[in-house]
């Protein structure tokens, strides 16, 4: 599969602070790539470098076959960028906002009108074309924010935390839109700190923490490689850390315990036996499904949202 993005040994420093430290990863064409990490990990910096907003100190970045350092103008016409902030003019209508962004990409006349109609349909806001942005809900603004990046039919769409603070309806709409774009062959880079969003949308991921890539590649392979087997148990009588024959690290989660184990069935059997002996009321007993949350936990020792 062709690479839409190829980043090698990327370094970016802000004075004495290193925001990106020897970062390398690649993104396959037509895939949805998840860039994961806690706040301040370096995700937005990486995205701003890819869109040419900020310069980088060293390394090489290749976007859609163009070198970022020397062919920035070519890249800008092919990339759509949706920043984390809602960057729209509140006192202008949705239509006028989209017209402004379309004109920046050199689209004019009937073609511009058609593209605006198309993207409004894509984000499900055709009926609100002439409403002022300051009358929109947070979710509607986010959708127009994305629409503005689609007008010039980009080959690569970069979305920086596009679902922050929105309602479930708008979130589902955005997810549907991203899946449709992927189907049309557009490469999507999706930055978030919501693990479940990445699991739902992305084929490939890179996990960034403190400016370094700590895991990258195919989502399922990463899950297989880094996720640990664990059992979750919840009982009011279980106030101390439980220890069983096969159990490894035990950590508190919500009102219960996550018990890492090399033998899931053996551990469940031990818990059941002990609960019956002590006449404990067990509220929940389940196998913890391998997910990115546990991968991040096992790689860094901290929760993603800490």
């Amino acid at each position: 599969m062709n690479k839409a993005i190829d980043i090698k040994n990327l370094v970016k420093r802000y004075d004495s602070k290193t925001a990106l430290d020897d970062v390398s990863f690649s993104v396959s064409s037509g895939s949805c790539f998840g860039l994961l990490g806690p706040n301040g990990a370096g995700k937005s910096t990486a995205m701003k470098i890819l869109t040419g907003i900020i310069e980088y100190d060293s390394g090489s970045v290749d976007v859609l076959g163009f070198d970022l350092k020397s062919q920035k103008d070519d890249i800008r016409t092919l990339v759509g960028y949706v920043p984390q902030e809602i960057t729209l003019y509140e006192k202008l209508s949705a239509y006028n906002n989209l017209r402004f962004f379309g004109e920046l990409y050199g689209i004019k006349g009937r073609e511009l009108k058609k593209r605006i109609d198309d993207v409004l349909e894509q984000v499900g806001l055709t009926d609100h074309a002439n409403s002022l942005i300051n009358t929109f809900s947070g979710g509607m603004k986010r959708r127009i924010n994305i629409a503005a990046a689609l007008l010039h039919k980009p080959r690569l769409l970069i979305l920086d935390e596009p679902t922050v603070g929105i309602d479930p309806q708008s979130r589902n709409h955005i997810f549907g839109m991203i899946r449709a774009l992927k189907k049309d062959g557009i490469t999507v880079i999706y930055s978030t700190h919501y693990m479940e969003e990445v699991e739902s949308l992305c084929d490939e991921i890179a996990i960034i923490d403190h400016g370094r890539v700590i895991a990258k590649g195919d989502l399922n392979k990463i899950l297989d490689k880094h996720a640990v087997n664990a059992v979750y148990v919840e009982s009011e009588q279980m106030s101390k850390i439980p220890v069983f024959e096969y159990s490894g690290k035990v950590s508190k989660k919500d009102r219960g315990w996550v018990i890492e184990t090399s033998n899931i069935l053996g551990t469940i059997q031990d818990i059941t036996k002990k609960a019956m002996e002590l006449n404990m009321a067990v509220k929940e007993l389940e196998i913890v499904r391998p997910n990115l949350e546990t991968v991040f936990l096992s790689l860094t020792g901290t929760s993603l949202r800490d």
């Binding site: 040419g52 907003i53 800008r76 960028y81 920043p83 902030e85 003019y89 006192k91 202008l92 004109e103």
Partner: protein, 381 residues
């Protein structure tokens, strides 16, 4: 450039603050000042008096005061002499003329006739005017006495006239092409002062673009930074031109303001727009916050207005203030406008004014360009 220009104009026209600062407020000031100073030119100075003599001679004296253009007399018979003098002490009355008993008899007999003039110690234009009028009338009595003495000594009327003629004659010549109206004083001054308030809109616009993340997003598009700057700047230039057109139109249609040579007025308005927005660009990229920008704008607007002769005539400013005033763009704009409106100047006469305004604008743009890269790079943070 065109998308940015159109977008910014749309935003400016939807912003109520823009209309308030640039159109509504100057119009309100013009109406307020025109109503105050317009009626002031028709009002007389009142001279309060008490006639204790109450003879034909004293009445003639009062009549002489009343006959002078710009003055009127008033008598208060309901209060006593002491009460009225007390009013002066309290600041309720600025002056009082008392014609004492025996004034007429003394005048007829050739003895000294006194007039008492009570006044506040505070220098007041109306009191000084009343005092000057009294001095003038007393002089005319003295002249009358000299004439009578000369006639009694046998001099003919021609001889008396020759003796009494002053060796110095004041010849008053008005060099203005026409009489200056209140509107011709007010409208250019207010317009020049309020034009510079566009700087606040500029600062808000540029800082909002940076802080909202819009500038960063625009950097991800193919638009060149120069196109962005040109688009923003030209939209503010057009805003000022529209503002000036509205204010001059208001003055012309409401107060019959004579605009004079139209091409010359257009040239000043355009160069003033370039000047104010050029300075606005410089301030926008120099300041770190909106509050800092607004404070600096107030200094530019108020300082320039005071020293540039927009509030009080430039001629009566102290010489050091005048020297600073020459460094203010407001002075050159106001003088250029009044040269055209009052003195009938055409474009050739106001070339220096236009050149100075354009120089200020170019200097502002130069400073802005030095800081522009820093502003663009700040988009990333």
């Amino acid at each position: 450039m065109l998308p940015v220009f159109r977008k910014e104009l749309q935003i400016l026209f939807k912003e109520k603050g823009t209309f308030f600062w640039l159109i509504i407020l100057p119009v309100a000031f013009i109406v307020l000042y025109a109503s105050v100073f317009g009626s002031a030119s028709n009002s007389n100075i009142t001279i309060h008096y008490i006639d204790q003599d109450n003879t034909a001679v004293s009445k003639q004296f009062v009549q002489t005061l009343s006959n002078v253009k710009g003055f009127e007399t008033a008598v208060d018979t309901s209060t006593t002499r002491d009460d009225q003098i007390e009013k002066i002490r309290n600041g309720k009355l600025s002056s009082l003329v008392i014609i004492p008993k025996g004034f007429g008899d003394n005048l007829k007999s050739g003895d000294k006739a006194n007039i008492e003039f009570y006044r506040t110690s505070v220098t007041d234009q109306t009191v000084e005017s009343a005092k000057a009028l009294l001095d003038n009338i007393i002089n005319s009595y003295r002249e009358g006495k000299i004439k009578s003495t000369l006639a009694f000594s046998g001099k003919s009327d021609v001889q008396i006239q020759q003796i009494m003629a002053s060796p110095v004659v004041l010849k008053e010549v008005n060099e203005d092409v026409k009489n200056v109206t209140v509107a011709e004083q007010l409208v250019p001054g207010m317009m020049v002062m309020f034009v510079f308030f566009v700087i606040i809109s500029m600062i808000r616009g540029f800082i909002k673009e940076r802080e909202s993340g819009m500038l960063a997003r625009l950097r991800s598009t193919p638009m060149k930074p120069g196109d962005y700057l040109a688009g923003m700047w030209s939209s503010f230039i057009l805003t000022v031109i529209i503002q000036c057109t509205a204010l001059l139109g208001f003055g012309h249609y409401v107060y019959k303001l004579d605009l004079g040579n139209l091409p010359a007025i257009i040239a000043i308005v355009i160069s003033l727009a370039i000047c104010a927005t050029g300075i606005g660009l410089a301030i926008s990229f120099l300041v770190k916050s909106e509050n800092q920008g607004i404070a600096l704008t107030q200094i530019v607007v108020m300082g320039g207005a005071a020293l540039g002769g927009l509030w009080i005539p430039f001629d009566i400013l102290p010489s050091f203030a005048q020297k600073i005033g020459y460094l203010m763009p407001q002075y050159w704009a106001q003088k250029g406008l009044q040269d055209v409106m009052v003195r009938g100047a055409d474009i050739s006469v106001i070339v220096p004014n236009i050149a100075v305004l354009l120089l200020f604008g170019i200097a502002g743009v130069f400073i802005a360009l030095l800081r522009f890269k820093r502003y663009i790079l700040s988009a990333a943070s």
